[in-house]
Symmetry: C2
Subunit: 316 residues, 2 copies
């Protein structure tokens, strides 16, 4: 469930563009007006606004937002305004660059999007970077991470509900055997994670629990300091219980000494139209405080207002 | 260039269906009429015919063709009538089954189709088999073949013409180093083959030739008996010069003691609407005999007539 709130009547794209122009005009920028408009329009509506803005003002709205705003607020508004596929392409590209490299962001995009969404991100990547996403991921990662990440971003998983229980049982055994052998980068293990449908993987994870008495993610905690093992656990979480993965990501970002704004922004912006409601519920259950409250306590100014609007706090 | 010949005026799908029904009626089957219709309709037209046939006769045309025809002719007509994406899904699925297993067919589909065509085949695979293509390939292949095939079928390559010459030079060096080390299943080598655009790979192969004085496929002939090495050479050929790959496949299929009809049918049927003209030119250049002549000399009956029609011999 999304947290995005839309007003009962949506102004036309040209009205929105006119208002945005007003927000940019004169000496100061009217940030509240920008939030009031953009944080309450869905992907299709924002796309229309960008198109209309370009037609009437001959300039990319993103470029104007970029020059009018600054710091975390700017970053949140820009990421949010992008179409989901373009945004994923951008995030994945940043995650393959040396200075902003992040295996985590790549894994997150590969594992939490639907097959169709991931495909659209790969198409947007072609269009924007004149290369393929898997090409850059393969070229810029290495070792065990590469071995896991390349098939994850290349997957086009089956999305039906059908589950083969015999297969789930046998692949749960495979997982158990590999974990016992500490063969965490084993080909079979990666094959299963990178190619099976999410429904099938879920059945396998359940079978693991039934047959061996522990959650697979628990058995993967053999060495709590092992960074790759941590990564593997999160991959399984992203594939089978993304809301739990995101809850933890938010928790760590918010509790960190000096909030991790990049992570906080990324989760709110990429999930507000998808399942942020569900993530917020997980958050409250786990932290005994609402996500709104936690964000409000940890951020300030226009950045805070933007995030809270996206989390569904207040009126549209 | 395609070899498929269409009549100057195309009958409506309902007229075609009526004629097909006539061809099926009574004691014998009118094979000539079936060829006259189906072998001279393009993919979109055949799709329309199948839809119309189902609407008017309540039966899948493929099922009726299956029961009316037999042996190689039947196989050719059925494969041809399928939509390209469905056909690729079917061929790939057959190639992952134990009795009809073929790493070659999987590689051929992964490497000679456009990114969009391969994606459509993967979508058709979902729809028909309730699984993903890469899932079955990964599950049913092993060793070096699996290591190469899974990323090949999962690729969604960039298709623009842009080439990075610095990269081509450095990756040509990588190829050379790995070949010198006989590290034919090396991660880097597979990464390059499985993720780079075809234009980029072509530049790399050219750079290899320039820098090291030999074609890369020649240097990959170190051990002529090594089956995997043969497979690797063909993969590079499929990616950079598919018409040469197909010419050789046809040559071997036709010259074999007791023609390899499966391969012959597959090439003609899958390429007739794509580049069979170009392949036939290669064939004539290499064998000093036209492809039409070679096929006519090696096949007979309705099967021969069907193939010759698809190769563009005679009138539509």
């Amino acid at each position: 469930m999304a947290t995005l709130k839309l007003p009962s009547t949506i102004p036309s794209p040209s009205e929105d563009c006119e208002q945005l122009q007003k927000a940019f005009a004169g000496w100061g920028t009217n940030e509240a007006l920008i939030i009031q408009i953009l944080a309450h329009r869905d992907g299709a509506q924002r796309k229309k606004i960008r198109e209309t803005y370009y037609q009437t003002h001959g300039e990319d709205l993103l470029k104007d937002l970029d020059s009018e705003l600054s710091s975390d607020f700017q970053h949140a508004v820009l990421l949010w305004t992008l179409e989901p596929a373009e945004r994923d392409a951008y995030l994945a590209n940043e995650a393959t660059k040396r200075l902003t490299a992040s295996n985590w962001v790549i894994m997150e995009i590969a594992c939490t999007r639907s097959s169709h969404q991931l495909l659209c991100a790969r198409q947007a990547y072609h269009a924007k970077y004149k290369k393929s996403m898997e090409e850059d991921v393969a070229h810029n990662t290495s070792g065990d991470y590469r071995k896991l990440l390349v098939p994850l971003v290349s997957a086009y998983r089956y999305e039906g509900d059908e589950v083969n229980m015999t297969l789930a049982k046998s692949e749960a055994k495979t997982f158990h055997q590999k974990i016992c052998d500490k063969a965490y980068n084993d080909d079979e293990l990666i094959r299963i994670l990178a190619t099976r449908s999410k429904a099938q993987l879920n059945a396998t994870v359940n079978q693991y629990n039934n047959q061996f008495g522990n959650a697979i993610t628990k058995d993967l905690k053999a060495d709590p300091e092992d960074e790759y093992l941590k990564f593997l656990r999160s991959t399984i979480k992203c594939l089978t219980a993304p809301e739990k993965y995101y809850e933890k990501l938010l928790r760590l970002a918010i509790n960190k000494l000096g909030t991790d704004e990049r992570a906080l922004t990324r989760v709110v912006v990429t999930r507000a139209e998808v399942d942020l409601q569900r993530i917020a519920e997980e958050y409250q259950k786990r932290n005994s405080v609402t996500l709104v409250h936690a964000i409000a306590g940890d951020t300030s100014g226009d950045y805070e207002k933007m995030l809270l609007a996206l989390v569904g706090h207040g009126d549209a």
